[in-house]
């Protein structure tokens, strides 16, 4: 009986428990801060321009990571997230080539819906065939890459209206003049991240469906016995993954002003790395979005830091890989037996 007596959560207990459960994401933000600090030291004239370029460069990858997080939380994995992002980059650039700003926003919305549908179809294929997620998404990654090349055989074609580009490459004050001086130092690219979190993720996180998604990743049998529809939940999870990948494609279209069918491949495995570094359990069910976001920025920021230090590209990947292993090992040690 004694083992069963649990303390009622008073304010301080609840606070300590929150810290314990969120220690990993918090430490990833510390890592990000250290990397940014190191950049400041390494770069003599570090300023708004460097921050702006970092956000522009990191945003498509960060959005791909959000997509990967959804799949992994539900107990799956999406090896197609990168080529899917490239596919929607190509589609958006093709549709927006001669569009006005208003039209481009509508096209953007359409692309997001397409992203959801394509992702949901991936989930449905996994349900119907019973083939493991990793194999189905490996196959669809080739399909998406091929379709992207069919739509746009030559990289750099297509286009997007300037105003649409400003949404991702400008400052906040360019989009919303009333933000004034404060807005003039905040990269507008963060708007797409805010959109992903405030319009898609947080409302979803408040729904019962998100509990079903976590439950599915946590223990499939328990979820089934709890009355969760495994098939419907998986479709929803991959639908969200597709939506975030499509948003990443839009961000890429906005920043480059064109399409590139070959661009997304490196995002796939990097997004898995960011998910792991962000404290999401690869077996599913555990983690959130805060960690992976900081992890994505950290991984990208590390590459920039190495550039600032004048280290050659070949070494950059080695350093990135070694850092990943060390950090995950270190955090994993802290994490054992704790939440």
């Amino acid at each position: 009986m004694k083992a069963l007596q649990l303390p009622v959560a008073s304010g301080s207990v609840a606070r300590r428990r929150w810290l314990r459960r969120n220690a990993w994401p918090a430490l990833v933000y510390v890592l990000l801060a250290v990397i940014v600090l190191a950049q400041r030291i390494a770069h003599p004239n570090y300023g708004a321009f460097e921050i702006q370029s970092a956000v522009i460069g990191a945003m498509p990858f960060t959005l791909a990571t959000l997509g990967q997080t959804c799949a992994v939380l539900a107990g799956g994995i999406d090896l197609a997230v990168g080529t899917e992002l490239a596919l929607f980059n190509v589609i958006a650039a093709t549709l927006m080539a001669n569009a006005g700003f208003g039209e481009s926003l509508l096209i953007g919305l359409l692309v997001l819906v397409m992203g959801f549908v394509v992702g949901a179809l991936t989930g449905a294929v996994i349900n119907v065939t019973g083939v493991p997620d990793i194999i189905v998404t490996l196959a669809t990654s080739f399909v998406f890459a091929g379709v992207a090349l069919l739509i746009m055989p030559i990289a750099g074609s297509g286009g997007a209206p300037t105003e649409f580009g400003t949404l991702f490459t400008g400052e906040l004050s360019d989009v919303w003049p009333w933000t004034g001086a404060v807005g003039s130092v905040i990269p507008a690219g963060l708007l797409s991240l805010a959109f992903a979190l405030l319009v898609i993720w947080l409302p979803f996180r408040r729904s019962r469906a998100s509990l079903a998604l976590y439950a599915l990743g946590s223990n499939r049998t328990a979820a089934f016995l709890s009355g969760v529809s495994v098939n419907r939940t998986r479709i929803l999870a991959y639908g969200l993954t597709g939506t975030f990948a499509a948003l990443g494609g839009l961000a890429l279209t906005g920043t480059t002003g064109s399409g590139d069918p070959n661009i997304g491949i490196s995002y796939t495995l990097n997004s898995v790395a960011a998910v792991v570094l962000g404290g999401v359990s690869l077996t599913g069910g555990r983690g959130g979005m805060a960690g992976p976001i900081a992890a994505a920025f950290s991984l990208y920021g590390l590459l920039i830091l190495l550039q600032f230090l004048g280290i050659s590209v070949d070494y950059q990947y080695v350093v990135q890989g070694v850092t990943l292993v060390i950090v995950v090992l270190f955090l994993g040690r802290l994490w054992i037996g704790k939440r």
Partner: protein, 495 residues
């Protein structure tokens, strides 16, 4: 038998998996306001029946009616809508979510769950706790409270007391009685006959996938239940070989003392002599897995000592045990073998682990090594290119043959005859006896209690992780073993 006033009426449920019969023809009637026990030996079909009632699997044929109306239970939610509320043997709480989130996920009313948790003695439980951080007994109580909060007409409790300390079990019984007084019913599945007698009104016994009787517990008592569970089908097999009832006065080859695995095995001590077959009998989940895992080096015990001869054993992995000469033939043959590879490769596999032979593996060396064991065990090698195509009995022989080729001193057999035909069974028993006669010490767990006295010199009965009885093989008939395995002492059984 058919009673139209029954709350739950199950008629002729049947489920086959290929050639395997899980349930042949099961009837069950539960009246309003009663606690009804569902009993049966391992493999009688209890869990299959419960899975059908809870919508986890669908029957091949037969009907389930609640309050006289036939229902189709296509998934767990449908079962709940029909008024059946279950606490499953498998945990049905998502481990990474908090208690509150789990309740929200299953649309349970938190206030009602809270009231039942208070009633069951978990007043201090905080809904913000993550399920994975809570101890197992707490989870069972949470699941019970959640099921009760839905106000089901019939509460199905599948082995709920197996994981509970006695004080919590008492609160569960109190709530069950309350439930009955409110005019609702409980279907209670338990291995513990003492509990069943204390709390249940009637009991239905399943055997070989059929219901073989429903009795009032007030008049019947355990004797009648045990009789029903056993049935008339006594084993027709003869002892495999002359038994060496009085173990030869040799030094024990293997002994363990006070072996302990937290929560699974408590201070188990025994010894096996060369030439002896020591049986282990137990119902499912009484610690036999932990015992064999310890001796085979799969898990490390939390306490106690094992010795081979006079050498203490520190087994860190199965390879250590094999090197010491302790080898395991597991129940799951697919686990032990490489199903895609040939009989020959499967038999020579352990040699590679030992690195006894360096350099190229020649076909000739392989053939020579495997020829002896294959001939000795009469393995049917017509399908030898892939072990998975062999019959279960022949697969089992291959997993024994590989140890014949390498040599061993202690042989651990975990339910080696499960799902094997009578002829092959007899061959395997004869083989075990022959190996023992050549000086091996054999530890044999079998779920087929009727066959224990055919092959074992001595037998230990495990109950809740402890050795509760030790008998001579000759007197270990099925009835005696079944009583001991249900935790009934000799005195109680005699009453």
């Amino acid at each position: 038998m058919l009673d139209t006033d029954n709350l739950l009426q199950v008629t002729g449920l049947r489920k086959h998996y290929g050639a395997v019969v899980a349930l042949e023809h099961a009837n069950l009637g539960v009246r309003p306001g009663e606690i009804h026990a569902l009993l049966g030996a391992n493999g009688a079909g209890k869990s299959t029946l419960v899975k059908m009632l809870t919508g986890v699997i669908r029957p091949d044929s037969g009907t389930i009616a609640v309050r006289g109306r036939e229902v189709r239970l296509t998934d767990p939610a449908a079962s709940q809508r029909a008024g059946l509320g279950a606490v499953f043997q498998d945990p049905a709480l998502a481990p990474d979510l908090t208690l509150a989130e789990n309740l929200r996920l299953t649309r349970a009313d938190p206030a009602a769950v809270r009231r039942w948790l208070d009633e069951l003695g978990l007043q201090a439980l905080d809904p913000g706790e993550i399920i994975a951080d809570l101890p197992l007994p707490t989870l069972r109580i949470i699941e019970l409270a959640r099921a009760l909060a839905r106000q089901p007409d019939l509460l199905i409790l599948d082995e709920i007391t197996a994981a509970l300390p006695s004080d919590l079990a008492e609160s569960v019984f109190r709530v069950m009685r309350q439930w009955r007084e409110a005019g609702r019913s409980v279907l209670f599945i338990s291995h513990r006959l003492g509990e069943v007698r204390a709390i249940c009104d009637r009991a239905t016994v399943l055997r070989d996938g059929r219901d073989v009787g429903t009795l009032l517990l007030a008049e019947g008592g355990e004797e009648r239940i045990v009789e029903l569970m056993l049935g008339a089908s006594r084993s027709e097999m003869q002892p495999a070989a002359a038994r060496h009832a009085d173990a030869r006065q040799t030094e024990p080859l293997f002994r363990c003392s006070k072996l302990r695995v937290t929560g699974r095995l408590h201070d188990v001590s025994f010894e096996v002599r060369p030439g002896e077959i020591l049986g282990v009998a137990a119902l499912e989940g009484q610690g036999q897995d932990a015992l064999f895992d310890c001796v085979a080096g799969v898990i490390r015990p939390d306490g106690g000592e094992m010795r081979l001869g006079n050498t203490p054993l520190a087994l860190r992995r199965p390879a250590d045990a094999i090197r010491a000469g302790i080898v395991l033939v597991p129940a799951d043959r697919v686990m032990a073998l490489l199903p895609q590879r040939s009989v020959r490769e499967n038999i020579v596999l352990p040699f590679f682990g030992r690195l006894r032979r360096w350099g190229r593996v020649t076909q000739r060396w392989e053939s020579q090594t495997v020829a002896g064991p294959i001939a000795r065990l009469a393995i049917d090698t017509r399908a030898q290119r892939q072990v998975r195509r062999l019959s279960g009995g022949n697969q089992q022989k291959v997993s024994v043959a590989r140890w014949l080729a390498t040599g061993f001193r202690v042989l651990l057999c975990f339910d080696p005859t499960r799902g094997i035909d009578v002829g092959t069974k007899r061959q395997i028993y004869a083989l075990l006896r022959e190996l023992a006669d050549q000086g091996a010490a054999i530890l044999l767990y079998t779920s087929e209690l009727a066959e224990v006295h055919l092959v074992c010199d001595r037998v230990l009965v495990l109950y809740e992780g402890q050795v509760v009885r030790e008998m001579k093989g000759a007197v270990a008939d099925e009835a005696a073993l079944l009583r001991a395995a249900h935790g009934l002492t000799a005195e109680e059984a005699a009453v």
